[in-house]
Point group: C2
Chain length 376, copies 2
């Protein structure tokens, strides 16, 4: 599929106008756009502009309620529970992490759980919010059940990412990963390329290992059974129960502690009900933040400089690839495939934004065919 | 290798006497014995009586200082940092989790990090301490570097387990797992059985996948390079960077936030320097604990009752296997191999405990040959 490069500033301005046209305030649109663009800039394309269609469809169907405001329904000096009232995930998530940060700054630790939200973009964005203020940030979300538990054949868990960010030199530690072995996006890439997926990635409708990406994706879409495997694959021998366990940790801190919707009821009957969690920890509660940062930075350096596997010349520490991607995207633009561009145009038409004003100079012919596009 | 069954009460009384003879108080010996026996009772034999030799050698060599008392070196209403002064890990760990629980009961959350400790047994014991009091408990520890980072060929990380326990019906959720794909004990089992290990388990001295358990173990022992792979195996394609990331989360909450010894310096020059972390969270800070417990129990039930993979008749939730093992061990005794029994006798002789008083009726001939035994 053809790809184009779009300047970060142009994509930013486009998203900002689109979300305002959807009815979000300028400030809210700024937040939503920031979350989406960080994903693209960090090279996590699956969660950036590619997802615009998901929000477009969610708003159109009424699943995402534009005018909803998140409400704090329970609060202590170290915690809060927020009801998102089915609003936009990014706005709810941003408000929740701000609350966690505020509590960390006064009490040392802040933990906020959220129920009744929607897809909130990359978990790492929220972890980074705390990190940008010198704190340790963690965030997790549950999501539509597309992951089977060990020995199961029905998807009961979301890809349930867990993210953590912590100050370090020369760049922060930033880890954001699904607790499943991969996300749906990876299956889509393999399906497009007509390549079999590794046998630790997917399960068919009988729960058996399945290397046919298209088959697993079709089953996920039609809820025919099977789905993505936990990190560690299909069996205990390779640690499947561990990936399943990390998905459960995500579920505990999102849906369970917020009394919200568990992943197996997420996105059922046009109701998201997505749950998130946000933790901010002030390193002051363990000593001198500069000493801790120095100690951590030194260990990260030792890891990067430790002897490499034959055939490899680099050991990455988490966050390093995102820094490399940032530099590239800011200079060369964001990589967008034509399908995403078509979805962006469709979205622009829907809300009444002049698409050509932003992207008329790209020289790509766009013909939107809804049958070719992912349904949400 | 021949195995015998030993009654829980008999093993308990034996350990209690041995640790008192080592110089620990009765109360301290009670704690150490409890941690070891919970491991055996839960079916995690690798961390129970089998490890007695490790503590024996550690005390003998002076690495574990029997008379050391853990000291709180930094404290806030929600946190503490403890210097273990190279004492016995179980005593330090127990004191640290008690402190975290105390803080959770007054502030809602308690986070305690520990430096300068030694091997503390199973992480899950400490998580369970909080859970037994109606709280959510988490614990993690770093350890001797025997795990390679993704694309590395030198072990830089410990098996760094992360454990979490939370109240639920009909039994608590209990998850305790190394962030590596397996622990060293699994390699030892395969080595004894002369079976090749799965190719996602180990790396040789060049960092390449190695299925020869004996080779990997010998390299670990001689520090010749390679080691165990992170959960997710050797490559990013199978999620290696995720297991490596979870090991880093463990490292952050243990060695980094306590300003302690990172895994790559653990057990160097007869210095343990092991670091731990302990978190207790009172569910009251998110709402009604009974409601939360009910919500969680219901989700766990849905998971267990969800459709099974072809050929499987059970989906486990974490903690279920431990409950099954407990019932068995309490009725039928703990399974101990003859090598462990020999090590127990050697230990008894060293401290002057009458081994036959406890185990003379087992009818097993024991000849201790130090060359056959693991060196620590």
């Amino acid at each position: 599929m053809a790809h184009v490069k779009i300047k970060v500033e142009k994509m930013d301005a486009f998203c900002l106008e689109v979300f305002q046209k959807f009815g979000f305030t300028k400030e809210e649109s700024r937040i939503i756009t920031d979350v989406l663009l960080l994903s693209d800039i960090y090279g996590i394309e699956s969660h950036g502009a590619q997802r615009l269609v998901r929000y477009h469809k969610g708003i159109q169907s009424g699943m995402i309620k534009v005018k909803s405001k998140p409400e704090i329904v329970f609060e202590t000096p170290v915690s809060a529970v927020i009801d998102g009232h089915e609003g936009m995930g990014q706005i709810i998530g941003h408000m929740a992490m701000e609350k966690a940060i505020e509590k960390a700054k006064t009490s040392g630790i802040g933990m906020v759980t959220v129920r009744e939200s929607n897809h909130y973009g990359i978990a790492g964005y929220y972890a980074k919010m705390a990190c940008d203020q010198g704190l340790i940030g963690l965030s997790s979300t549950n999501s539509e059940a597309i992951v089977v538990p060990t020995f199961g054949r029905k998807a009961m868990l979301g890809t349930n990412p867990i993210a953590i960010a912590m100050p370090a030199e020369p760049y922060p530690f930033f880890f954001d990963a699904a607790t499943s072995v991969v996300t749906r996006g990876k299956f889509e890439m393999y399906n497009k390329a007509e390549k079999p997926v590794p046998d630790c990635w997917g399960a068919d409708e009988n729960g058996q290992t399945c290397t046919d990406a298209g088959h697993v994706l079709a089953n996920i879409k039609s809820k025919a059974g099977g789905g993505i495997l936990p990190l560690g694959g299909a069996d205990e021998l390779t640690g499947s129960h561990k990936g399943y366990g990390y998905a459960m940790i995500s579920e505990i801190f999102t849906s369970i502690l917020s009394m919200g919707t568990t992943s197996n009821y997420n996105l059922v009957n046009n109701h998201g009900g997505t749950c998130h969690s946000f933790v901010a920890i002030d390193p002051h509660i363990f000593g001198d933040p500069e000493d801790i940062k120095g100690h951590f930075s030194n260990f990260l350096k030792e890891l990067r400089e430790s002897p490499k596997r034959e055939g490899h010349d680099r050991i990455y520490t988490h966050g390093e690839k995102e820094i490399l991607a940032s530099a590239d995207r800011k200079q060369n633009g964001i990589d967008v495939d034509v399908k995403t561009l078509e979805e962006m145009q469709d979205c622009a038409n829907f809300v009444g934004v002049d698409f050509d004003k932003y992207f008329g100079d790209l020289g790509v012919e766009i013909h939107f065919d809804p049958n070719e596009h992912t349904q949400y």
